[in-house]
């Protein structure tokens, strides 16, 4: 079973009388343990594709199946539960909760609704942070962490609820090359060690070799994928 199946997905917006096509009959399949890099210029539809895959937007046409769930016609409430349980996000701006420490930033995902108890969630958060090299920074607030450390906390948060699919938006845009490579290596290692699928949106061609496959997108249309170099 594929982690993500987009079939003929179309997303349009209206602006006055004009129809703007953000995603044009996009079809993409991401295998269970596959990492796909999605590259394209600004305004090409990368973010729309990521948002639709993560249940943040609903498609105008087509079907979206994540981890076996067809979310194409889910209600807002169903999508909220889907996001809570089936996907993990790493945002471009990291977006940690500023008044929660590193551990709490992971546990909060569990607090929104999970079968895991509070103490189990805390243990899992600590294990993840330990794996991410943040064992000594668990009690620190985001403001007390470096950019790379914040990015690692965000990766831990995305993995907290053992999602089927991790969606990562421009993970290296705010980092220098060396730190960016370290973060990408960490993402690949964490995602691969859990046999989880990931879609990484990036404009940085230097980072695409970390993915199993690179897919280009232009004007809302997906190009043919090619294996990473």
């Amino acid at each position: 079973m594929a982690a993500l199946e987009l079939t003929d997905v179309r997303k349009t917006y209206t602006s006055g009388d004009a129809e703007i096509v953000a995603l044009d009959h996009a079809t993409l399949e991401v295998a269970d343990d596959e990492i796909v890099a999605l590259v394209g210029p600004s305004g090409s539809g990368k973010t729309t594709l990521l948002s639709i895959s993560g249940g943040l937007l609903t498609p105008t046409e087509g079907t979206v199946v994540v981890g076996g769930q067809d979310i194409s016609s889910y209600s807002a409430k169903q999508l909220t539960q889907f996001r809570r349980e089936a996907v993990g996000f790493v945002f471009q701006a990291v977006n940690l909760v500023p008044f929660l420490d590193a551990r709490e930033n992971l546990v909060i995902v569990n607090d929104f609704g999970s079968s895991r108890s509070g103490s189990e969630a805390k243990k899992r958060a600590e294990k993840l942070l330990d794996e991410l090299g943040l064992a000594s920074r668990m009690d620190n607030l985001p403001g007390e962490l470096s950019g790379g450390e914040r990015q690692r906390v965000a990766i831990g948060r995305a993995l907290m609820n053992e999602p089927d699919l991790v969606l990562i938006d421009e993970p290296t845009s705010a980092l220098d090359t060396k730190l960016g490579e370290q973060v990408m290596e960490l993402i690949v290692s964490e995602v691969k060690s859990r046999s989880t699928a990931a879609v990484i949106v990036t404009h940085d061609q230097r980072m695409t070799h970390y993915a199993d496959r690179t897919v280009a997108i232009t004007d809302g249309r997906l190009g043919a994928g090619r294996p990473a170099d």
Binding site: T47, T48, L50, S51, G54, L56, L57, K77, T80, Q81, R83, R84, E85, F89, F91, Q92, N95, V97, P98, F99, L100, E104, I108, V109, D111, F112, G113, L141, R157, N161, D169
Partner: protein
């Protein structure tokens, strides 16, 4: 909700503006409530402290104790009414008193009574020219064993004990025998000289199982309309200015609570605007609108309760330095009413942000 509480604990200063405003409003509300209660308590104690359920006035007195007259014949008719177990005469004279060692006159409501009031023992017995004084008169220098010179004739009356919560129309309760009261009244107002056996009103104790309204009706019927019988609560409300005073202060208190709600609404509306980015991220991570909104309401309620606590402490400190002429009484039930009002108005104020929270788009977290 947990998130909201953690934010309150870690970033309390973020809520300082709303909290400070609510602390000041709490002081204002407690002061207004205290003033209302002080005025009410010090005006109505004589009637509230009566143990009888009914107060009988002469019908031409328009429910005024000062104007009313009940002579022995009418009293006998009252006592013959069904449901009446016992009657006791009461009368009051509003006079000044000279307290030994004090330069200012103290205001006294000299009350002649036959049935003991709440704070008296059932076998209370006074000799002529002896009085039980209301404890509030201590602040004016009155003490047990003193002889206070009462009224225009400066009748010396010895204070032999205390009673509580018996003031009448802002004048300190001073309970004496009926004869002493009649003498003080006659000396102060020669036109109001009352013969022995005549009182201004009667307090009626009901027979077991009797209904107060039915007995009141029976009394007025048996006297052929010569009396106007009120329940104790009705008699309290009929005192001059009490209804107007209650409604005026209550209106001010409700408006102040409304202002508290507006302040909370404005504050949390601005805070919600500031947090839209955070809320979109939380929604993207799987938080529902009710979970986020619940956190906002919890924050508003906690800010209201903590502000009330600080405001209450400030008011207690303020009450200690207020001059004794300001009749502020801090009553627990009033404090409960105000804290409940603040919490409800704060929760409603925070609810103004609901629409905005619901409309936060989780997709904006990613692009």
């Amino acid at each position: 909700m947990k998130l909201g509480l953690v934010e309150l604990r870690r970033k309390p200063l973020r809520f300082a503006i709303a909290g400070s405003a609510l602390v000041l409003l709490t002081v204002l509300l407690l002061f207004l409530g205290g003033l209302l209660d002080g005025l009410y308590i010090n005006s109505t104690g004589l009637l509230r402290s009566q143990q009888g359920e009914l107060i009988v006035y002469s019908s031409d007195a328009k429910d005024s104790l000062i104007r009313s007259r009940i002579d022995p014949d009418v009293r006998a008719e009252v006592e013959s009414a069904d449901g009446v177990a016992a009657t006791g005469g009461i009368g009051v004279a509003l006079v000044g008193g000279e307290v030994p060692g004090e330069s200012d006159l103290v205001n006294l409501s000299v009350s002649g009574f036959e049935l003991p009031v709440d704070a008296m023992s059932s076998d209370v017995s006074l000799a002529p020219d002896q009085a039980l004084a209301d404890r509030s008169l201590e602040a004016d220098g009155v003490d047990v064993g003193q002889r206070v010179l009462v009224g225009a004739a400066r009748t010396p009356i010895e204070v032999v004990g205390w009673v509580e919560d018996t003031n009448y129309l802002q004048q300190g309760g001073f309970f004496v025998t009926p004869d002493t009261w009649r003498r003080v009244l006659a000396d102060s107002r020669p036109d109001a000289n009352l013969p022995a056996g005549t009182f201004q009103a009667l307090v009626v104790e009901l027979a077991d199982g009797a209904d107060a309204a039915d007995v009141a009706e029976a009394i007025d019927a048996v006297t052929g309309g010569a009396t106007s019988t009120l329940t104790r609560d009705e008699a309290v409300q009929a005192l001059p200015g009490i209804r107007e005073q209650n409604s005026t202060f209550s209106a001010i208190i409700y408006v102040t609570l409304f202002v508290a709600g507006l302040i909370v609404a404005l504050f949390f509306a601005l805070l919600t605007l500031e947090r839209i980015g955070l809320y979109s991220v939380l929604k993207a991570l799987g938080a529902s609108s009710p979970q986020i909104f619940g956190g906002v309401v919890v924050q508003a309620v906690v800010v209201a309760v903590v502000s009330f606590a600080f405001g209450g402490l400030l008011m207690l400190a303020l009450a200690r330095v207020l001059p004794s002429e300001v009749p502020v009484e801090l009553v627990p039930s009033r404090a409960v009413q105000i804290v409940v009002g603040l919490v409800v108005m704060s929760a409603l104020g925070a609810a103004v942000s609901l629409r905005r929270v619901v409309r936060v788009d989780p997709a904006s977290a990613i692009g």
